[in-house]
Subunit: 703 residues, 2 copies
Amino acid sequence: MIKKLGPRKPRVPFAIGYKKYVEVRMSRSGALEQRVTNCIRLLAADGVEKAKSGHPGMPLGAADIAYVLWQKHLRFNPDKPDWINRDRFILSAGHGSMLLYSLLHLYGYDLPLDELKNFRQLDSKTPGHPEYGHTPGVETTTGPLGQGFANAVGMAIAYQVLRNSLSKNGKSPINHKIYVIAGDGDMMEGISSEAASIAGHLNLSNLIVIYDDNKITIEGSTGLAFSEDVRKRFQACNWNVVKINGHNLKQIDNALKGAGNKNNKPTIIIAETKIAKGSTCLEGSCKSHGSPLGEDEIINIKKKMKFPECESFCIPDDVKAHVKIRVDKLKKEYEERNEKFEEFMDKNPEIKKRYEEYKNKKNIDINELLNIDFKKDKIATRSASGIVMQYIAKKVPGFIGGSADLGPSNNTMLKEYPSFSKTNRNGRNLHFGIREHAMGAILNGMAVYGGSVLPGGHRGGLLPFGATFLVFADYMRPAIRMASLMKLHVVYVFTHDSFFVGEDGPTHQPIEHLWSLRTIPNLDVVRPADARETAAAWAQAVNNDENPTALILTRQNIPVLDRAKYASAENLLKGAYIISGEKDRDNLQLIIIATGSEVSLALEVQQKLQGDGVSVRVVSMPSIELFERQDKNYKKTVLPADCLKKVVIEAGVAGGWYKYIGADGLVFGMEGFGTSAPANVLIDKFGFTSDKIYSQIKNRFDF
Amino acid sequence: MIKKLGPRKPRVPFAIGYKKYVEVRMSRSGALEQRVTNCIRLLAADGVEKAKSGHPGMPLGAADIAYVLWQKHLRFNPDKPDWINRDRFILSAGHGSMLLYSLLHLYGYDLPLDELKNFRQLDSKTPGHPEYGHTPGVETTTGPLGQGFANAVGMAIAYQVLRNSLSKNGKSPINHKIYVIAGDGDMMEGISSEAASIAGHLNLSNLIVIYDDNKITIEGSTGLAFSEDVRKRFQACNWNVVKINGHNLKQIDNALKGAGNKNNKPTIIIAETKIAKGSTCLEGSCKSHGSPLGEDEIINIKKKMKFPECESFCIPDDVKAHVKIRVDKLKKEYEERNEKFEEFMDKNPEIKKRYEEYKNKKNIDINELLNIDFKKDKIATRSASGIVMQYIAKKVPGFIGGSADLGPSNNTMLKEYPSFSKTNRNGRNLHFGIREHAMGAILNGMAVYGGSVLPGGHRGGLLPFGATFLVFADYMRPAIRMASLMKLHVVYVFTHDSFFVGEDGPTHQPIEHLWSLRTIPNLDVVRPADARETAAAWAQAVNNDENPTALILTRQNIPVLDRAKYASAENLLKGAYIISGEKDRDNLQLIIIATGSEVSLALEVQQKLQGDGVSVRVVSMPSIELFERQDKNYKKTVLPADCLKKVVIEAGVAGGWYKYIGADGLVFGMEGFGTSAPANVLIDKFGFTSDKIYSQIKNRFDF
């Protein structure tokens, strides 16, 4: 259990008596502390005011919490934002970004005051919501509610993995905490319930969430929509729960002292606060949430707080000095801890080697994967993927992940490794439960944990993967978007990729998902045509650390294409390639583009048409994104503009295919939802037989 | 508080003594009851076996619960699946569909035994997961986990609305319960936490969820990923919680007797069960979840249960007779209740009138909306929408909805009506909190509540709407898909529809969302160009009850186009129209297609190009889906194929636009994520000025 809170008798420095000591403390340090929190408040208010846009309420309300956390608990070195052993600070309530920027500036990060003055302006380091890889000290991009909370759970998993990996005799040089400030919105979003459940289940005890319980949302009081007993809810998920007054510095301090690594449970500190605390007229009002306070009000606040009325972005010298003491101490502590870290590493060369490996992403040799013997003529790409993943697991130590309870169907179990659990931190198989959304955000947290937060900094650490049925990618879409926005190295394994799912019916048959994923910027969607393309797709997904990759895999068995007859699957890396050229090189009459399971169908159609003397090319196009990254010449070679007759075969909506085939092109796809029936019946119903496609092409193009 | 459970002394019919009575009861009724539950089990197992596909574990495990519920509590009339006062039964664990089909058949619904034998086959009434509007007695489509649970919350809201609307002096002829069977997966999905929180907050006391707690998921024991104290979790959300043995018929009965309408709280009955209960070798095993049990095992089970070994789909006469007693009683009860209902209605003609109105969706006159005086030259379409909605609220009594805590930004408050709350069932403004996903599924539940569950049956009841920022449509995407699949009459109000959001930055700027929504079959996506198109869009959304509509609205002010100069906004109903024709009708040189805020930009570009003598047509294309429903001739008239020069201006990804402009067409859209800066700065950065577009068009087409 967590310590009981309340005033504790401090050590009294001189024999001045307790009462006198308290008086002195109140008048000096106490007043000064208040002054620092007010300075944070005013920096945030000034930032929003200057931008004429932003969210002042949250920073004013949470300034006391943030101050105590940063001044007394958070361990970091502003000169080393990438220090692996730093405590992490995640502002899940990302709309309060000016709070974070104010802290980063005050505590010495490379974020000049001018950047705070440039809040929300083009190319500033202070965008509307905190952005990962953009501003030193920002651990993850937040704003969409619940994401930061769940990212932190991912970081806490990654922490346990790293700590365990670098430990000897139960001791590890990795030892830090993960702090989150979350708001009412984070609490309401379902993703936080999913993530909290996982965190409690896995005993992620260094995770400490401070819930800025200001009881105000955009529509008014949280009482309009939210009357949960948050204490009970988190207790139900195996968390420590502490409730405090979020403006009482002593209570905040005590709660934080009692939190973390105590009894194997994560901790939530429910801090009751007033939104816009310190404002003379908007304290407690939803009007302070998303609009500047107004010039007059800011002057009023400055008067009240005894700050220079007409000065903006003012940081008084005593505030600076107060904070500097902390930063100097932290830097010293950093040096000491780093020294010990190096000592430990020098004494344990094997662990040092592991750590070096961890820091540098390891590439995989595509040829090794292409040479895998799949031992079958026909194999589902999900099964091929499962075989390939076993190879990758051996070569890439940071390769870790799991499924949202579909491991046996997604074929994502790393068979030679145990499950990660509260008792086994050595495991590499994660069991996310039926919680796709949290899975997505946890992967993001795991991906950022070991990498650099600096713009252009190194990638490294874990390579997390997560799996579910393609149709349920919808459940985790907001997290996929965040991964894409942050350009994280994350791999999604989406199986059961079309109506070929069969009997499970329209709720389980993806129709729109290929194109809906392809619309997300920075996401590579790769739908391999057979086992070999699956191997190549995995090589691409592992070796490309620039952005996330979604692998789209079949449920049903499909032929392993004879690569002596057809072009090499290595061409997958180019996104699209001529897998089977036209008979008559001087007279290309038709191009059939296909992806995934439809490539072998396209090859059948080609054969039929060539039997009639039509010169047909088949292009396997597993990834539009990879293809678009090729040079113009290559693109023209594969899809020459002067061949006007082009068709696409893909078991999904037509979406953006017309870009490649023109408005007159023909898409053999799906126009509505699927239906429940055996796949072999649906093939016929939806027209995905070579006979049907062959005759439609003949009719359309008068061959 | 809920009643304490335990054996209650029954009334003993004769003076045979309690002990003797129990003996008799056990040997007759008890054994017979067990026989009925086993019959249900075997129907389900046979169905899955014959289909060679499906989920037998859940039906076997939950058969006892389902039997007691249907035999003793659920009030329905199988001949009248649309009876408004029926209890609702929602199988949220939709993969257990054979349980539902077995019940529907046994209890006399129009679902012949042959349909059970046709489980999961093409065009059968027994698809892999239950489908709304397809099988009588199926209240909503389930399968994607958590959706059914949240639908039920929506039904419970709709119930309160209707009950209140038809009440007099606190009495109402509407009086029934809503029962859900939910599984572990439903519990884990975040949407159920969101929905449970809302249900408890709103005191939805006639909602009774039976949690089939079988502790098994696909990957194995729920202990792998799920260790919540479910009791505490629901208590935290203001629910009654009862825990029982889910195979003890008496405990199930007592729990159900004690549930509903007791103390203003919804109830969850945590029923501990064994998956595949009754199986000789797979009881308690995850292997029973998603595969047939196997012929041998089914024979073993039949032997054990004393059912004819070699007969499939066997319903013994004593089982039939036992069930018939219940059904006859229910039909009689229906007649009585219906009589009283009619009496009440006859006595209260005003209420009767309201009920008639409720049953029949009311159309709105588009002209009335088009004539609204918006009183401004420039107005954001979200603001125009807010004005239009006030008119609709007056005309359409069932128009009810709200926002995921963005009411003031989405402009969705119905100003003359109160909020719906636990104390005011008369309210028409719902406060969903920051819970987009539950909002989506609740809208679905509200939409199905008052309509017909029969194929081709009438639409009616409420017209629910839900709002959030367009970018957060991702959070509710699975529920939007379900609405589209079920073709529900639901309206989404998605505001802040592009990078014009400005300072909030890339996390809040939709880029891919227009096209990702357009990929969903059956969903109309409508992005009006100004206030008048917004009015027309609302008319379309209200009057088209065939499928859901997503309205896509601007944050920023945009011109109200002069309809004396430009074509009427009524043309929005056609999806696309020539808003401003080319100067030279005989020489159409260029077509600019635009949507939403980009239409006025297109008109500016047209003017510039026409200044240079280029004959340009501007097509406003608010809805691709509506356009595709027009006849070929109209489509050709608007977008003639012989005009090869076409461009699109839309502040999002290019997606599927090439279908309308050809591979050579030019899309002025977004290629990556947005960035944080004032909108007027971003306009320039992303090239959305008439100057930039004008000069690019000139260059490209050599005008």
